[in-house]
């Protein structure tokens, strides 16, 4: 049974563009669940990435509340939010963004050691295992420059998974990939979203991704104009009544 891992209550975001305050995200209330591959889609400038970064506790909302589980985290300090990002979320960026000075294994383990912690041998073993699951065990010592874009993105996925997050936040992870690599990454994400302890949230405007989605959230001008889960729930509510 899926459970809500992140809940947004009337989250809004304003930006000051140097001249005036602009509202880029209208108040949004949204729950994100485990066992769900949710997509945020919409045209450029609709607020997709802003919403993703707010959910990921990177950007502070101008108003509203964020809950992880039952705990409100929107007023937590920067350091607490960083630790929550480390423990609760896994990030996959558009360009993979591996650190070029580190090899594949180091790039993965840095996500476990970024706050200066020692990496336990169990985590190292886990990294090897996940690398193996993604067919990358032979590249553990390779530098990112030696990998294809698809391989880099899979390494980024392993990095995102190393701390066993409850929510994977992916920012257009397939936009720089060819069809084959894109399918591999999407298949992997789909499998990961089937885990009852984990959900996947992806920002995209790549139509190839839509068939993989369990839930589609459409944004326009900073507002949610469509949420397949909400509509489904409304539909079943109406049927019940």
């Amino acid at each position: 049974m899926s459970t809500a891992v992140v809940r947004l209550q009337e989250i809004a975001r304003d930006f000051f563009d140097g001249k005036q305050q602009r509202r880029v995200l209208q108040p949004i209330t949204l729950d994100l669940f485990t066992q769900e591959m949710a997509l945020i889609a919409g045209p450029s400038g609709s607020g997709k990435t802003t919403l993703l970064t707010i959910i990921g506790l990177i950007l502070k909302p101008s108003s509203g509340k964020i809950f992880i589980g039952e705990r409100e985290v929107s007023r937590d300090s920067e350091n607490v939010k960083a630790t929550l990002r480390l423990k609760k979320f896994g990030f996959v960026f558009q360009q993979a963004d591996l650190i070029p000075g580190l090899n594949v294994m180091e790039n993965i383990l840095i996500a476990a050691a970024v706050q200066g912690q020692r990496v336990p041998s169990a985590v190292k073993k886990r990294a090897k295992d996940i690398l193996g699951q993604f067919g990358l065990q032979a590249y553990a010592e390779a530098r990112p420059q030696q990998l294809s874009m698809g391989q880099k993105q899979r390494v980024a996925l392993v990095r995102a998974l190393i701390n066993d997050p409850v929510l994977l936040l992916c920012d257009e992870p397939t936009s720089a990939l060819d069809v084959e690599s894109s399918n591999i990454v999407l298949d992997s994400l789909k499998k990961l979203s089937a885990d009852e302890r984990r959900g996947v949230l992806m920002v995209t405007h790549d139509p190839r991704v839509f068939p993989y989605a369990d839930r589609l959230i459409k944004l326009e001008n900073g507002s949610v104009v469509f949420d397949s889960r909400r509509d489904k729930e409304r539909g079943s509510d109406e049927e019940n009544s």
Binding site: T49, L52, T53, G56, I58, L59, E78, N79, A82, T83, R85, L86, K87, F91, F93, Q94, D97, I99, P100, G101, L102, I110, A111, V114, Q115, G116, R159, A160, N163, D171
Partner: protein, 365 residues
């Protein structure tokens, strides 16, 4: 950055090397000059020097009556006392030209106050009435005379009997001979001397002996050797502009290094902005980023200090037997290394400031 941006790392290390080497070679030359300034005093073996009144450096004394010897020797705390002569002269070169020298005459048979290091011969050569020493480093300037050659100094003929090694004064060529010959050369009457060197008996208080000497010799100055050496160095530092000149050079060396370190580290952080943003996004706190830049700076600073001192040591070793005066006081290099680390971190401040200000959200742009 350290591993990946090797050119940046090398550039930053070069900045630290610049701080170590430029500053180090300046102060080692300054200390070398200090050594030359007070060499006569430092190497004399005496505890106290008697100079004419108001003497503020070793090259500025008038003359004193030799009869002071008995008054000084009569004090029970005095182990020995010897008069020496130190005055200007002119050495005649083979081509007929002359060159100024400082003539030092020391008493036979003890030869106290004489040269302390020899390339050829030994101090006993000064027991010969006609004997004189020149320094190895001055030979080429003086027409390369050889042992046994007759040399003319201030119209007096002397014989080159020994060659000293790095026995030089701040004012240039130091030549040593015996007291009698020195008086002849410098036209000093037999009843006059330039200084008296005094050794106190073991366990005697130098300051008390100085007070007693001042009472016994009211028309002369009694100065402890260390104080006279210090006064001499201070006199030259203040009156010749050496202090400000070297101080300025040291400052420029440090500034050049800091600028190089600042620019390279700052550029490195700019180039790696996205990596820092990724680290922040995946859970790194500002202080974690600071720790990364701190350790990178520490690595660069330590590598630079090590290589800089290696270069400095090679330089000092290379110029040891040349005309360039150099010297190092043991406690200076650790202090220098410490301040170089501080300067390196000062240089890294802008980079650190930039690194901690990088927003994790920038990775999504």
């Amino acid at each position: 950055m350290v591993v990946h941006d090797r050119s940046t790392t090398a550039g930053a290390i070069l900045g630290v090397i610049a701080i170590v080497f430029l500053v180090g070679q300046q102060y080692s030359v300054l200390f070398g000059l200090f050594r030359f300034m007070s060499a006569l005093v430092d190497q004399s073996g005496a505890d106290i020097w008697i100079c004419s009144n108001n003497t503020n450096n070793i090259n500025a004394s008038g003359t004193l009556p030799v009869r002071y010897t008995d008054r000084i020797a009569g004090l029970p705390e005095v182990e020995w006392v010897v008069p020496i002569v130190s005055s200007g002269g002119a050495i005649k070169l083979k081509d007929g030209k002359t060159q100024p020298v400082q003539v030092v005459g020391v008493p036979r048979p003890t030869l106290t106050g004489g040269p302390w290091r020899f390339a050829k011969g030994s101090i006993e050569v000064l027991l010969d009435y006609e004997g004189l020493t020149l320094d190895k480093l001055d030979l080429s300037n003086l027409g390369n005379p050889e042992l046994g050659d007759i040399i003319e100094v201030s119209d007096r003929r002397v014989r080159l009997a020994g060659i000293t090694q790095n026995v030089r004064g701040f004012q240039g060529t130091l030549i040593f001979t015996n007291l009698r010959k020195a008086r002849e050369i410098t036209k000093l009457p037999p009843d006059r001397a330039s200084y008296f060197l005094i050794k106190a008996k073991s366990g005697q208080s130098i300051s008390r002996l100085v007070q007693e000497l001042k009472q016994v010799l009211p028309k002369a100055e009694a100065i402890p050797s260390a104080e006279l050496a210090r006064n001499t160095r201070l006199y030259y530092v203040v009156n010749t502009g050496i202090g400000s000149s070297f101080g300025f050079s040291v400052l420029v060396g440090a500034l050049v290094g800091i600028v190089i370190v600042t620019l390279t580290l700052y550029t490195a952080v700019l180039n790696r902005q996205k990596d820092f943003a990724v680290l922040r996004a995946i859970g790194g706190r500002r202080r974690d980023i600071l720790v990364i830049v701190f350790y990178q700076t520490l690595f660069i600073a330590l590598a630079g200090v090590f290589l800089g001192f290696l270069l400095l040591a090679s330089f000092l070793s290379g110029v040891r037997e040349t005309n360039l005066p150099t010297g190092v006081i043991l406690w200076i290099p650790p202090v220098h290394a410490f301040f170089t680390l501080i300067f390196s971190f000062l240089g890294a401040l802008f980079a650190m400031r930039k690194a901690v200000k990088i927003e994790p959200a920038s990775v999504f742009r």
